[in-house]
């Protein structure tokens, strides 16, 4: 599968955040998890969100994923302002436009890999007959064809994350969001997963936003590094590392600050 039809080929921003804020009230104190972040991510770009824990990088990712709503500001993904969408539309957006992978894999323990991968298709009401083959195909792509009927607990961390990737891509989203995808993996399996993510980014022209606190990893794979601290954007560098440049088609944006 390469350059699937329907994927935007232009360099228009896939994600546009304007003065994005997410504040929580925790007892008496107001926590500014995201505090006035403005950024653009172009279609097909591979962006890493970097920062120490509590910097607000996961909160930004959740806002882009439509799992959370901004307190103020806007996130516009493919010309839709997520803050304006109804809960129902937001669910549809998560179902069709976004694929997510997490540090803790988040596979459903009681289901086999095939069932886990099938689950988004159930929500999308894909025909029952097609689902089995599609799930198998997706698991084959991440090298897990032999494991389709295994439960997550019977698999290694790397295998679980590969299954999670297969699930994230099953409804052919344009956006892949990864929250510390290698955080629970050793460096070898981490590399394996990241190679897959890069492959999807380059072959399927998917826009990838990855949250990580490992700068080396980000430099190795991302085309652009965005730094956050205390909920604010503190740095936005186009990555000069050769590895990240390989096969690039998207131009990085200049520093905003």
């Amino acid at each position: 599968m390469s350059s699937a039809p329907g994927f935007p080929q232009n360099h228009a921003p896939a994600i546009r955040a304007e003065q994005l804020c997410r504040h929580y009230r925790m007892g008496e104190t107001l926590i500014r998890a995201v505090d006035g972040v403005t950024l653009n991510v172009r279609t097909g770009e591979f962006v890493a969100l970097l920062g120490s824990s509590g910097s607000g990088k996961s909160s930004v990712l959740n806002l882009i994923a439509g799992l959370d709503r901004p307190t103020s500001g806007s996130v516009i993904v493919q010309e839709r302002d997520l803050a304006q969408l109804s809960r129902e539309d937001l669910a549809r957006y998560r179902l069709h436009t976004v694929g997510m992978v997490f540090q803790s894999f988040n596979l459903i323990a009681s289901m086999t890999l095939a069932e886990n991968v099938e689950l988004p298709m159930r929500f999308a009401e894909v025909d029952r007959e097609k689902r089995g083959d599609l799930a198998r195909e997706a698991l084959a792509r991440v090298g897990l064809l032999a494991r389709v009927n295994h439960r997550p607990s019977e698999l290694s961390g790397g295998e679980q994350q590969r299954a999670a990737l297969a699930r994230a891509l099953i409804n052919r989203p344009q956006l892949l969001l990864a929250d510390e995808p290698t955080g629970n993996l050793d460096s070898h399996t981490g590399t394996e997963i990241m190679n897959m993510v890069r492959e999807f980014n380059q072959q399927l022209r998917m826009t990838v936003v990855m949250v990580t606190h490992e700068r080396a990893l980000a430099e190795r794979y991302a085309q652009r590094l965005i730094f956050l601290a205390d909920g604010k954007l503190v740095g936005d560098d186009s990555n000069s590392t050769v590895a990240a440049k390989a096969g690039t088609h998207a131009s990085a944006e200049g520093e905003r600050r």
Partner: protein
Amino acid sequence: MKLPDLTELAVRNLRESVLRNSLTTIGISVGVASLVAMLSLGIGLQQPASRRLMKSGLFDTVVVTSRRDLRNFNREEERSGPAPGESRILDEPTRREIERLPNVLEAYPDIRFITELRFEDKPHLTMVAALPPSAQSNDAFDAVQGHFFSTDIAPEVILQKTFAEELLGKTPRVGIDETNVAELAAPLLGKELTMRYAQRETTEAAGSKATNDSSTAPADRSLAGAAYSVVSREQKLKIVGVADLDPESMRGPTRARVFLPLKLAESLHAMQPTDLREISRSANDEPVYSSVSVRVKSPSQIQAVEDTVKKMGFNTFSILDASRSVQQFFKVLDVFLGIFGSLALAVAFIGIVNTLVMAILERRREIGIMKAIGASDGDIRKLFFAEAGAMGVLGGIVGVALGWAIGQVINLGTNIYLKRQSFPPEHFWAVPWWLVAFAVVFSFLVSLAAGLYPAGRAARLDPVQALRYE
């Protein structure tokens, strides 16, 4: 999400914590079982009672009596309306008037008298009543062995089964309903009975000395034409049928034990108990009746006909009057039993809520994952509804089976007791099909209602928080 997917996921989730969900389902089953048990007890108790009422075959009949009779079924009626002495006489013109009322099929006099019947030279004293030809279509005469009267004037007779037993010299067993009528009828059909009765003969003129061979009725000389004499007569009758009627059933022609065709009975001019009293009134030869049975087109018109006849100045009585209070009693009983039965279901309701709320806490993360990969609030809500509904249907089915089993055990127990007390067996427990369907559907709906709160709560769960939950 589509229904098959929902069901599949719901069943899978229920299987994940088998013990807890089984216990909850058992709770529902016990609730449904108690509801089914209570309601079927109510229905079961009602059935023998209404069966007996139906057997009387009087559901479309109004019995009209004159207020002169001084006996009334209703005290209120006694107080209102004209005094007994001034009220109308129930005679032939009145009968014809009643027969012309709308929705009245026929109005026939109740002719009944106590007399002696000889069978194989043995005398038997019993109540004889006349039956109109229309009685043939009456439910009560459905089970006649032999046949109905060939004509309305034929010298034929139908026996009530206990009288048939008496004729054959069998002692009727108290309370036992299941007499084999065919067995009784076989030796009797076609045999002859001799009926001895007192015939009333109008004597020609006042003052003339009316002499009879048997008995005399002292006539008031001042009332011209009102005198009559009483003659003893005999009439041979052929037994054509034996009826499976309940001797203890309600008032009406079926209370007699021997039945004659109406026209024949009328032609006999048999002395009636009321004749003696009416002698002071009846100035002509028109017969006066103690009561007239009025057949109405359908039971729903009984009330209207009764009201009209009452306005004419007569007392009326119908089985509906008697059964109305009985029906009311059973309705109240059903409601009470239903409430008791529902108590257990209410406890089960709380059980479902508890189980599902626990499931939300346990599966919080799973709900978060589902939402993250695209499940809508509606999908999550439906999933929890499906789980509640599945428990409800399963609990309902098991509950109905359980309730039925309890009923069978109680039936068995009561019948052993009844047998010891030498009462006939009864089915106090009836589980009709509509109750089975009702119980399962009701259990399903109750479970859905119980799922309302947990499902809403699960649907509103914040995915970010849920995903953070370990």
